[in-house]
Structure formats: structure tokens, C-alpha cells
Symmetry: C2
Subunit: 87 residues, 2 copies
């Protein structure tokens, strides 16, 4: 931890490669996020054994962005339905 700015450094392993992540998030959270990405990469690799690592990582990012955007859209919809119900 950096004493000046409360910055945590967390070293994680993703697909066999070490990354040191700096930021304000607690190490525990960084580890959960990293394990999510690592396991998603391995899952996609299993289905597409001939992918190189760059494409694999891009597909992992796409897959995760899909889940994020889908959840975000669902939330917006729920909120707008709630507002309609309150009228």
C-alpha cells in the first residue's frame, strides 16, 4: 500500500501471466475480478483451442462487456418499469 494516496498493489496471475494491479480497490476485490477473467479465458479457450492469446483476451473482454451491458440494460428497464408503475 502506498502511504500517500491509499493505493493498493495486488499481484494476480491471469492465464499464466503475472499482473500487478494498482488502484484504490481492496486486494480482495481485485482478486475476485482476476479470477473471473482467468476462468473465463480458460473456458473460452476450451471451446476454441486454436485461438491465440490476444484474440482470446479480446473475446474474453467482449464476453464480459456483454454481461455488463446486458445487466446495465436490465437495470435501466427495471427502473423505468418501476417509474411507470408509480404513476
Amino acid at each position: 500500500m502506498d502511504e500517500e494516496k491509499n493505493i493498493n498493489r495486488t499481484t494476480v496471475s491471469i492465464y499464466g501471466q503475472q499482473y500487478t494491479i494498482k488502484g484504490e480497490s481492496p486486494s480482495e476485490h481485485v482478486k475476485v475480478v482476476s479470477e473471473y477473467v482467468d476462468s473465463k479465458m480458460r473456458e473460452i479457450k476450451k471451446k476454441n483451442p486454436y485461438l491465440d492469446t490476444t484474440k482470446l483476451a479480446v473475446l474474453t473482454a467482449l464476453n464480459t462487456a456483454d454481461e455488463y451491458i446486458t445487466l446495465r440494460e436490465k437495470l435501466k428497464e427495471d427502473e423505468s418499469n418501476k417509474r411507470d408503475g408509480e404513476r
Copy 2:
């Protein structure tokens, strides 16, 4: 579109590379997701100009997974607060 199983094929460009995404999601959604990943890669590259493309893609996946997991946790918390409020 595949006539048998309602599978859409959408070709997108991410960080200068073409990807054909197959799946049941509408092309419009695949494009939104792809633009999100493409712009996030460019944003991270600006801050870290010496990253190779694989690491850049992994960091993009991490960044997106962080947003997804943070939103998912917030949702869980909201739901548990709502349940507590109903007691």
C-alpha cells in the same frame, strides 16, 4: 442469419482487427458491446502506451469485469436492503 437456429453473424472491428461474432444476440447489441471494448482498449492504451496488445486486451477484460462485478454486488446489496426494509 442461420436459418436453422436463429444464429446471427456480426462482423465487428476491435482495435483494428476484424472479428465475426456468432450468437443469438441481435447484431445491434453485438455492435454496442464491441464499441465498448474497442473504446476501452484505446483508452487504456493512451494511459499505457508501451503495453503489447495481449496485455492490453487482458487489462481491458479486467477493467470490464471490475465494472460488471461492482454493479452485480451493488444490485445484490440493494436487494438485500430492500428485503430488510420490508421486514
